[in-house]
C-alpha cells in the first residue's frame, strides 16, 4: 500500500523534536486524516485541535511544509514523493504538539466596539443586497488565525502590542461597512489598533482559506478612512454623508 511519511513536531514549551510516522494513503486523504491515524495507531496523546473537518470552524491551523494551512483542507496527494512536515503555528505560544495558545486573538476581539445601530425598535431593517455584500465577505471569516500567524508584524512579539493584526482588521471592516452601523472606529484603528504597521505585503490575503480580500477590501479601505479622518477632513465629511444617503434611498 502507498504510504505518506509525516514528520510531526512533538513537544511543548520546554522544547521538542520531530517524529516520523508512516501512514497508509487513502484516496483524497487530508493531513488531518493522517494525524488521526497517528493518534489511533501510534501515539494517542498527539495533541491537535479540530472540530468540523470541513474547513468551516478554523480550528486545525498548522504549518504544513512551512506554509500555514488548514489541515483538514490540505490533501496529502499534493505532496507525492516528499515527506510532509506538520508543525504548530509559529506566532503563538506553544501548548503542546500542534496546539498553540491563540487566546491573544480573543483578547483583541474584546477591545473592538460591537455593532451599534440607531434604528427604531420593532422595525425590521430594510437594506439591499449590494449593501450587505461588502460586509458579508468579512463575515465569512472562520477565525483560523492563519493570517495572524503569517503577518510579519505579529511574528515579532513586540508587534502584538502594537498591531491588532489582519483578522481584527477584517472584523473592524465588517462592522464599519455594516450598512446600519453608526460607530466610528478610526480612532481605535489609528491608535491601539496600529493599522499603520501594516505595510500591505498581502501575505495574509494570499493564504486566507476563505479567500477574503483582507488587504484590498478590508485594510486598504480602512487605511483610507483613517487618512481621510485625520488628514483630509473634507473627504471624511463627504464619505460620512454617503452611507446615510444610501440609507434614505433604501427605506
Amino acid at each position: 500500500m502507498e504510504e505518506a511519511i509525516l514528520r510531526v513536531f512533538r513537544g511543548d514549551s520546554n522544547g521538542g523534536e520531530e517524529r516520523i510516522y508512516r501512514v497508509p494513503l487513502k484516496p483524497g486523504m487530508v493531513v488531518l486524516d493522517a494525524i488521526h491515524y497517528i493518534q489511533a495507531h501510534y501515539d494517542a496523546d498527539l495533541a491537535v485541535r479540530w472540530n468540523c473537518k470541513a474547513a468551516r470552524c478554523g480550528s486545525c491551523s498548522a504549518e504544513v511544509n512551512g506554509r500555514p494551512r488548514l489541515m483538514c483542507k490540505t490533501r496529502l496527494d499534493e505532496f507525492r514523493g516528499t515527506d510532509v512536515r506538520v508543525y504548530p503555528l509559529k506566532t503563538f505560544p506553544l501548548i503542546k504538539d500542534l496546539v498553540t495558545d491563540v487566546s491573544w486573538n480573543y483578547q483583541v476581539a474584546r477591545q473592538i466596539p460591537p455593532f451599534t445601530h440607531k434604528e427604531p425598535e420593532g422595525k425590521p431593517f430594510i437594506v439591499h443586497q449590494v449593501d450587505v455584500e461588502r460586509a458579508q465577505e468579512f463575515h465569512k471569516c472562520i477565525e483560523c488565525f492563519l493570517c495572524q500567524n503569517v503577518c510579519h508584524v505579529l511574528r515579532d512579539h513586540e508587534g502584538q502590542s502594537a498591531y491588532f493584526g489582519p483578522r481584527s482588521m477584517v472584523k473592524i471592516a465588517s462592522l464599519e461597512m455594516h450598512p446600519k452601523d453608526v460607530l466610528d472606529r478610526t480612532g481605535l484603528l489609528r491608535e491601539k489598533g496600529g493599522i499603520a504597521y501594516c505595510n500591505i505585503t498581502k501575505c495574509c490575503e494570499d493564504l486566507c482559506p476563505e479567500e477574503i480580500h483582507i488587504t484590498d477590501n478590508a485594510i486598504i479601505p480602512l487605511k483610507e478612512r483613517v487618512a481621510d479622518k485625520y488628514y483630509d477632513p473634507l473627504r471624511a465629511l463627504l464619505r460620512s454623508l454617503a452611507p446615510s444617503r444610501r440609507r434614505e434611498e433604501s427605506t
Binding site: V30, A44, R49, R56, K73, P114, E119, P124, H128, E143
Partner: protein, 569 residues
C-alpha cells in the same frame, strides 16, 4: 489529594453553540453571573456547520405564511409525537428571534425590496428559511459570540465537563477539567443549562464534528434526567460519499432548495416516484430512504449513492448561493459542481430525541437542570424539518436562559457540593492512566461506530438491534480497560476515554429505545414493523437510570388542544 480550581456562578451554561450562547446572553441580561463552558475554543461549536438557514414565518417573501402554518408543518414533519406546545412556541417566537439576530448585526441575504430573503426547504409549505448563502450557522454563532462577549459572560474554553453535581435532589454545579493542562475545575452553580448538542459521532457516517459525543445527555442521565425518543436520529439524505475521508460530510439541503435534483445511475429523477408532490424537497426521512432504496436495487452511483445535480442553475448562481458547497467539492473531491453532478448518500445528522424538558422553560426532570437545542427533545418529534434547528437554538436557548436565571435567583438556600462525589469523580476520570488494561479508546470507538452504522442506522430490525445491544454492553466492559499513556496535558487519547463513556451510554439508550418502538415512524424504520402503529403514535419512549440500570418506559404524547388540532382537519 488532587487540587482543583473553583469558579462559582449563578447560572452555568455548558456548551457554546447557538443554544448555549443565546441562553448565556439571556441569563446575563437578567443580571446574573454566568459561566459558559465549552469543549472547544469559542465560536467553533457545531453550529458553524449549519448551512441552509433558519426557519421562521416572517412572511417576507410569501405573505401567506404565518405561525400556524409553520406549526402545522413542524407537527406533520414530526409525525405528531412532538410536544405540541414546543412546536407552538417555536413557530410563534422564531420570527422575533431572527429579527433580533439582525439587530445584533447578522447580515442575511436580501430580497429586491431589501427585506430578509427566505428560501424554500424540504416540507416547509412556504419559503421560510432566512439564510446567508450556505453558511447561516457561522453567521449566527459569530453574531451571538460577539453579543456574549459584550454581555460580560465568563467563558471557559477547552474545558470538558465530566459530571453534574447535586445537593440532594437539586443541581448544585458541574465538574470537569481543562483540556490544556488536565487540571480539574469545580463550577458550583444553582442552575445549570445543558446546550451540549447531539451524539452523531456514535455512527460511522455522520455530518457531525468530534464534539457531538452526547456528553450533556449522558451526564444528565447519570443524575436521573429522562431521555425521550432517542431512537429518533435524523439521517440527512445528502452527505458526501467520496473520497473516503469526507464520507458523511454534509451537502446542504439548500442545494435542492435552490433547484438541485436527485437522479439515479439511469438518469431518472427517482423522487418523482417516492413523493410525486414534494419531490426532491420531500421530508428528510423519505428522501434518505429513497436514496438508500435506489442503491439497494442496483441504481446507485459509482460509490454507492445518488447523483445530485445543480448544473442547470449556472455557475454564477451556484457560486453566489452555494459557495461553500462549490469549494468543498472542488477542494476535497476534485469535482466542479457547476459542471458535473455531485455524488451524495445519507449521513447521520441530528438527534431529534434527547432530554425531556418542560416546553416553556427547558427544565428537565431534575430541579435546577435545564436543556436547550439539540440535547433537548420535543420540538422535532420523529423528523426534523430543515431550518428548524437554528430557530430551535435561539427560541429555546433564550427561554432556558431566562427561566434558569429566575430559578437561580429565587432559590433561597445555599447549596453544598458533595465532596465525596467530587473525589470519586476525580478517581474515575483519572483511572485510564492508572489501571491495567490494553484497550485503545480510538479503536473501541471505531467498533462502536461500525455496529451502530450496521444495525441502528437508516434500516433497523429487532434482531439487529438486539445484536447491537450485546455489542454495546461488551464494549462497555472493555471500555473499563482502556489504558492511556503520556501526560494529562492536552491528551486526545485521554479525552476520548471520557467521550467514549458518554457515547456508550447514548448508544445503549438509542438501541433500547429503538427496540421498544415496534413500528416505523419518521426517522425510525423497522423492517420487521414497517408500518406506523397508531398506538405508538401516542407514546414517547423514555430511557432513565433507575437503581444503576437503564430502564425503558413510555409516557403519553401530550394531547393537542382543540384549537390547534383543528389545523389538521
Amino acid at each position: 489529594m488532587e487540587q482543583y480550581e473553583i469558579f462559582e456562578h449563578d447560572v452555568l451554561v455548558i456548551g457554546a453553540g447557538g443554544a448555549g450562547l443565546r441562553a448565556a446572553i439571556a441569563a446575563a441580561e437578567a443580571g446574573l453571573t454566568v459561566g459558559l463552558v465549552c469543549k472547544s475554543l469559542l465560536g467553533k461549536a457545531h453550529t458553524v456547520m449549519a448551512e441552509g438557514g433558519i426557519a421562521a414565518a416572517l412572511g417576507g417573501v410569501d405573505p401567506q405564511d404565518n405561525w400556524q402554518v409553520h406549526f402545522a408543518d413542524t407537527m406533520r414533519g414530526g409525525q405528531f409525537i412532538n410536544d405540541w406546545r414546543m412546536a407552538e412556541i417555536h413557530a410563534k417566537e422564531a420570527p422575533e428571534r431572527v429579527l433580533e439576530l439582525e439587530r445584533w448585526g447578522a447580515l442575511f441575504d436580501r430580497t429586491p425590496e431589501g427585506k430578509i430573503l427566505q428560501r424554500p426547504f424540504g416540507a416547509h409549505t412556504y419559503r421560510r428559511l432566512s439564510h446567508v448563502g450556505d453558511r447561516t450557522g457561522l453567521e449566527m454563532i459569530r453574531t451571538l459570540q460577539d453579543r456574549a462577549i459584550q454581555a460580560g459572560i465568563d467563558v471557559y474554553p477547552e474545558v470538558t465537563t465530566t459530571a453534574l453535581l447535586k445537593d440532594g435532589a437539586r443541581i448544585a454545579g458541574a465538574f470537569g477539567y481543562r483540556r490544556e493542562t488536565g487540571r480539574f475545575i469545580l463550577f458550583p452553580a444553582k442552575a445549570v443549562i445543558l446546550a451540549t448538542g447531539g451524539w452523531g459521532r456514535i455512527w460511522q457516517v455522520t455530518s457531525n464534528s468530534w464534539e457531538s459525543t452526547g456528553d450533556g445527555a449522558a451526564m444528565a442521565y447519570e443524575v436521573g434526567a429522562d431521555l425521550r425518543d432517542v431512537e429518533m436520529m435524523q439521517v440527512h439524505p445528502t452527505g458526501m460519499v467520496w473520497p473516503p475521508g469526507v464520507r458523511g460530510l454534509l451537502v446542504t439541503e439548500a442545494v435542492r432548495g435552490e433547484g438541485g435534483v436527485l437522479r439515479n445511475s439511469q438518469g431518472e429523477r427517482f423522487m418523482l416516484r417516492y413523493d410525486p408532490q414534494k419531490k426532491d424537497l420531500s421530508s428528510r426521512d423519505v428522501v434518505a430512504r429513497a436514496i438508500n432504496q435506489e442503491v439497494l436495487e442496483g441504481r446507485g452511483s459509482p460509490h454507492g449513492g445518488a447523483f445530485l445535480d445543480v448544473t442547470p442553475l449556472g455557475a454564477d448562481r451556484i457560486r453566489q448561493k452555494l459557495p461553500n458547497m462549490y469549494d468543498q467539492y472542488l477542494k476535497l473531491a476534485d469535482i466542479d459542481i457547476t459542471k458535473v453532478p455531485m455524488e451524495v448518500a445519507p449521513t447521520v445528522h441530528y438527534a431529534m430525541g434527547g432530554l425531556r424538558v418542560e416546553p416553556e422553560s427547558g427544565a428537565t426532570t431534575v430541579p435546577g437542570l435545564y436543556a436547550a437545542g439539540e440535547v433537548a427533545s420535543g420540538l422535532h418529534g420523529a423528523n426534523r424539518l430543515g431550518g428548524n434547528s437554528l430557530s430551535d437554538l435561539v427560541v429555546f436557548g433564550k427561554r432556558a436562559g431566562e427561566c434558569a436565571a429566575t430559578y437561580s435567583r429565587d432559590l433561597p438556600a445555599t447549596l453544598q457540593v458533595p465532596r465525596d462525589v467530587v473525589e470519586a469523580e476525580i478517581v474515575r476520570v483519572l483511572a485510564p492512566f492508572e489501571r491495567d488494561g490494553n484497550e485503545n479508546p480510538f479503536l473501541l470507538h471505531e467498533e462502536l461506530q461500525a455496529t451502530m452504522q450496521e444495525r441502528a442506522s437508516i434500516i433497523r430490525t429487532g434482531e439487529g438491534l438486539q445484536k447491537a445491544l450485546e455489542k454495546i454492553l461488551e464494549l462497555k466492559e472493555r471500555s473499563r480497560r482502556t489504558r492511556i499513556t503520556g501526560s494529562r496535558m492536552y491528551n486526545p487519547g485521554w479525552h476520548m476515554t471520557i467521550d467514549l463513556d458518554c457515547m456508550l451510554t447514548l448508544s445503549e439508550a438509542v438501541v433500547r429505545a429503538a427496540i421498544a418502538r415496534r413500528e416505523s415512524r419518521g426517522a425510525h424504520y423497522r423492517l420487521d414493523h414497517p408500518n406506523k402503529d397508531p398506538e405508538f403514535g401516542k407514546l414517547n419512549i423514555i430511557a432513565r437510570k433507575s437503581r444503576g440500570e437503564m430502564t425503558i418506559t413510555t409516557v403519553p404524547v401530550p394531547p393537542m388542544p382543540e384549537e390547534l388540532a383543528r389545523l389538521f382537519t
